[in-house]
Symmetry: D2
Subunit: 422 residues, 4 copies
């Protein structure tokens, strides 16, 4: 079960370091642990095989642990080679989970790992960006019949799945775990918000107070990034393509502009749109000496790094951790963080475990719901049932020691009666 | 057409005062004016009769003006006697709109005015709280066949309509104007937020910095109230019954508690839940001397005023504008604003016109859409089409001089292609 | 004692309305009331005559009440005719305080009232802007020998007093009540902050979310205005002439610019600098149609109203409460609030009583200190002793039910010992 | 000149790493570089010897570089062994500065290094915490006559110096660099604010949104920490012993309590008071399982670590970077960051260079001023002249591309004329 190219990892010390990480994460994930304990009692996944393509991190380890307690057999590939924590991978192997992942591998190896994870012949798939599901539908079609359904973690992945569904190409039900209220509200907003700024500070130690931070995209992630930048004293400019989101940003007091008018003003740029080439040559040409470029969107396509390379006469790699300096022909120096990949995962540690507790708890409950309901479900993209959301939030509040009101009988009745007027 | 009980209003001076108000509102409503100009060219409502039950305010006048430019014949009743601006009513009458409304009328007169507005035998209905639609379905069923559909403004009204629809009692399509992204985001959040705090300041001139403001309900309105209270320096406690909203409030840094634990701490209480008896005897019993009670929810049922009256040994009405002091048996004095009715409409001037520009523009476009599409629509509650939202936001940004990015061809393609992977 | 031109005021009903206002203010001024009770026991002002030139408001009435309880005989003139509450003046007269003040009087009457107040031949003077002290030193020099000292309320007044002192023109000690930490922190920042925005909202009902508010001056008052504008959702631009304050504003995330670059962007302008002509013709020439101009500085010289008048082809007075519209030659309409006078006093109700509780308590204690210490004091400008500040803050916290830590013995010792090293 | 115990450092590669760090810092310190260039032209320090006890960091290196350009000969000891960057020390040695410092040395070595720095027989001393000046006055009195004066960086050091001065023990003028407006406003507030939260995030990766952060002390540093914690979504409780600061915190919306009432509620505690035992056994006894303890005050005395050790049945050192877990007898686990030492220096990288640019520029200009003026100065503690502050701010604004207003002639005159009245 141990991969040859991972042989070095299995040294006991390495796995132990991973275990400490997982233990640290687990203590911030009380909801997921409570759910895992429930799974241990009910064994909802007995006899099921799961192929997962997820960030190989301590928090993921806690999720897989909960599923495993429920009886699942699991194979894991990394959804992003840069985020893979090799010590966690080593620890997971000692728990009996098959892991095909190593930090920093190239694209060919990345896809080989996905294939290897699929070799388990999964009944359930867990995806983060849709690469595993895509590979399954294009290169491993022989496995499709065995799959009863799966979950997708990211906005980007959901877009791809909906496209597949609209073309009738999707062959089983996929639950849009990303689209839960808890995920959008918490993971995207609070998790990405804090960890993105954390990544920028770790990489550059730049003072944010008084700086102009340009946030491209005002979805839940962008909102979180903008809030945290503002909370750290920055002046925030928002760019958008959706007029409703743009107007919302303006009404929250942000300076809203097109990127072409933000480029020359910004000290720090963060892309978080889900789209490509949000910062491109025409914008790079306008930026100030010393401008910092970071991406917090799923794929590393939001900043046109190729254009940056072409404009540079010299690149000084690693002048700070996760920071490369591009010296342009005209002498201006632009600082690219994390090679344009997810800055919060690469330069910091990704979402805090407390955030992942929410989204992974929803995912764990969604997998259980999918397993129960899949026989009644057609291929397509499904929302997580609202009661799972509410259940996760309820458990989280309880873990934080917060109690809330309950409806009285009269209030319940009032809400359901349309005959009561003014 | 002029009602006997409004005879006094028609004095030219009175109508002129209303016209000045309407002119003032209109200058903050550039989007609605642009839409009205378009209606004037296209005449989409030629020959149609509209019965409206709306707040009789300057902003409503601008909306009705736009519909009238499009050819509609209109009869208006007030959706809340306390918000009726008699001078605006007078001005509207000079524009040829039939108005049945007067400030401060009793409940019987309120419903008589609704009946009078219905006498126009409407093709389209505009409602704000569902009382007109309810009256139509229960007491004026003879008019139902002539109605092609309508719009509803409030969350409360939508709840009632959905209940009617689920019981198959609703007889024509109703557009949930409240449920647009723009309405929820802008009207509920920014409009209710500012005007509620404005009302509290006008009524009491209390310093909010350092005070504890308890906001009951964390929907879009509650969020707006909480943000503005925080922005004015208050410490904010949020109460909720929905765990997801409660958790969101907690993650935004608010102190979340049940009302029973907030009651003894709060200096100012604002209810904005859409439910009844949110503050009731058990809470009043715990409050501090001098606590201020305000409601920003649609109906005056959120604070149990009857309980307050029963607990009081003396009431000093009007010790400040819109402020009554209830002296309880134990000597504590509680201050009830606006008799528990909408504090932003009663103690201040309701939503700023700039906010109503958004929601009334959506409503104007929604009426045009309904008129075009009603033949293809079954009875039920309909969302406003997303492109109306986007259109309103686009016009609003343009009016504010804000430009935003557009997708490039490559970006459009990227968003639509699921085959592109990592 | 009753002035002929106030004859109408003395109608019992009028004074009663004033009493209700004073009672309302008093309940938000627990600290001042506690101090007044102490004065009543100690009678520190027995036999002393006080001439005061203050805003004639309910809060001032509570201050004068406390001094009167201490035995003082008092004559009061208004420091600003626009802020005079005639009903409060009437109520004060029934308390035996001589009041020379009426709302809206002209400049000649204003100075006549100051002279009439000085006719009491004061031992102590209370001033708000230095006009009474200035009159005393220039036109009533015969009274100077009887004066043991006084207090000045405003930054503007202090600047004038220091100038007098540096020219050896000042003849007695003046306590800079404005310069207490509590006054600067609380009155200037929280009081002016909230009441200025309150005044703008009452005058215009404009939505602040998404608007650009330009705050000229970043002293304590300007800071307060900027914070509240930001807290209401506005984008805030700060203008300054002091580089340290300008940098502080920038580091707090504000957009800092010269007025010439802010003029064309702003929707609302607030001057709060203590200087003249902060907004002048060159700026008015650049402003957007519909721009709103308000002043929150002590004197009405910050906006060059004369320039505005000269540029206007038409003025529409009172198109909203406290709002005049200037239609310029090129068609742009600029809205001037409160004629360029203090917008928070004129369009709203000035500082909330809870704020005045702080500064008036410091003032009451400062008067007592001055009376005790004046024999040992040379002419000059004096700071309020720090322990008065601390005493006021301590009483205020207690009134709010807030307890704080006390130093342990070891901590006291640690703070006083420099021999303890790393 | 190279110390035997630093022999390993001098390897070229090590010094090169330090140079890269210094270069990185220098690019965020444009003001200090401009001042250094001026010194290079004027040579104000030719022939002078400086002994410095400062944090041995890249930013300090830029400061010393500027002084050296002005002609000074410099010996440096570390003011805190935990903050010493050995690679920077190595690089400094290659510049000809004598450095006695190594990361992590014990107390005896720390003081030995101070003595070694004093061996230069300084004319000017630069101190950070007063240990060098204290040593000079107690153990190296033979050197006192050669000293013309010095600068002190920290609040703590100033307290010790003032105590010395009040006992007539201080023998030369010391400039309180800490007490400049720029230092207090910028270094203390923005620098400590951001870097403290940065340190907590790096050490724990904890989600701050929704957590309760208890900030002990509401001076400039505490204010900065509270603002950043709030800006990251935390609910902030402030503890204070000064009623004025406590009231200010309350009016800014913070929850103000004594530590005994904050202890059981907090998730994260930050001490920043300048005093000892702010968190002690009685508070530790009340804390929640998992509570995080961090100190951002100068000395490691604010958290009573000895009490914590005595209460623990087990300590797990380094369970995260800079994080030790104390398992108490009752099973609760408390997490102590950075051993109770400065969390921003130990767990993160201290103040961002942009902040140090301000305070070190003021310090550089203050040294030049001291050298010019010392012949006219008695022993004592001196404020930095206000024009140095303004000069630094002016240079900083210019470097950020921000221009501000200048007074017109009329405005200058207005500010200086007290005869102009209402």
């Amino acid at each position: 079960m141990i991969q040859p190219d991972n042989a070095a990892d299995v040294a006991a010390g390495f796995a132990e370091a991973g275990e400490r990480r997982i233990e640290w994460a687990a203590r911030s994930m009380p909801v997921l642990q409570a759910i895992g304990a429930g799974f241990g009692a009910d064994r909802p996944f007995d006899g099921l095989r799961i192929a997962a393509c997820l960030h190989v991190t301590a928090e993921t380890a806690v999720l897989l642990g909960a599923l495993r307690e429920g009886g699942a057999q699991i194979a894991l590939a990394a959804s992003n080679p840069l985020s893979t924590q090799d010590d966690v991978a080593a620890a997971l192997r000692t728990y009996g989970i098959v892991v095909h992942a190593r930090a920093g591998v190239d694209k060919a190896t990345y896809y080989r790992h996905i294939h290897q994870a699929l070799d388990i012949a999964p009944n359930v798939v867990l995806d983060d960006g849709c690469d595993l599901v895509n590979t399954l539908h294009t290169e491993r079609v022989e496995l499709l019949d065995g799959v009863i359904g799966g979950c997708e973690e990211t906005t980007t992945g959901i877009i791809r799945l909906r496209q597949m569904a609209s073309e009738s190409a999707l062959r089983f039900p996929m639950v849009a775990v990303n689209d839960t209220r808890t995920k959008r509200m918490f993971d995207n907003r609070y998790g990405t918000g804090q960890s993105t700024l954390d990544g920028i500070m770790r990489a550059t130690n730049v003072l944010l107070a008084g700086r102009t931070v340009v946030v491209a995209g005002f979805g839940f992630c962008g909102r979180g990034v903008a809030e945290r930048a503002k909370g750290l004293g920055a002046r925030v400019i928002v760019t958008e393509i959706d007029p409703v989101k743009a107007l919302d940003a303006a009404l929250q007091g942000y300076d809203v502009r097109p990127m072409s008018l933000a480029a020359e003003t910004g000290d720090v740029f963060v892309t978080v749109t889900g789209n490509r080439d949000v910062i491109r040559a025409e914008h790079l040409a306008l930026m100030k000496d010393g401008a910092i470029l970071a991406n917090a969107g799923h794929f590393d396509v939001e900043i046109d790094v190729r254009a940056l390379e072409e404009m540079a006469r010299e690149v000084r790699f690693g002048i700070r951790p996760s920071t490369d300096e591009y010296v342009l022909e005209d002498g201006r120096r632009l600082l690219l963080l994390a090679e344009g990949r997810l800055v919060n995962l690469t330069a910091a540690e990704g979402h805090p475990a407390a955030v992942m507790d929410m989204s992974f708890s929803a995912q764990a409950l969604a997998v259980a719901w999918l397993v129960r309901e899949s026989v009644r479900m057609d291929p397509g993209v499904y929302d997580v049932p609202a009661d799972i959301d509410a259940e996760v939030a309820r458990l989280k509040l309880a873990a934080a020691g917060i109690s809330i009101d309950a409806l009285t009988g009269e209030q319940e009745e009032y809400l359901h009666s349309w005959r009561l007027g003014s």
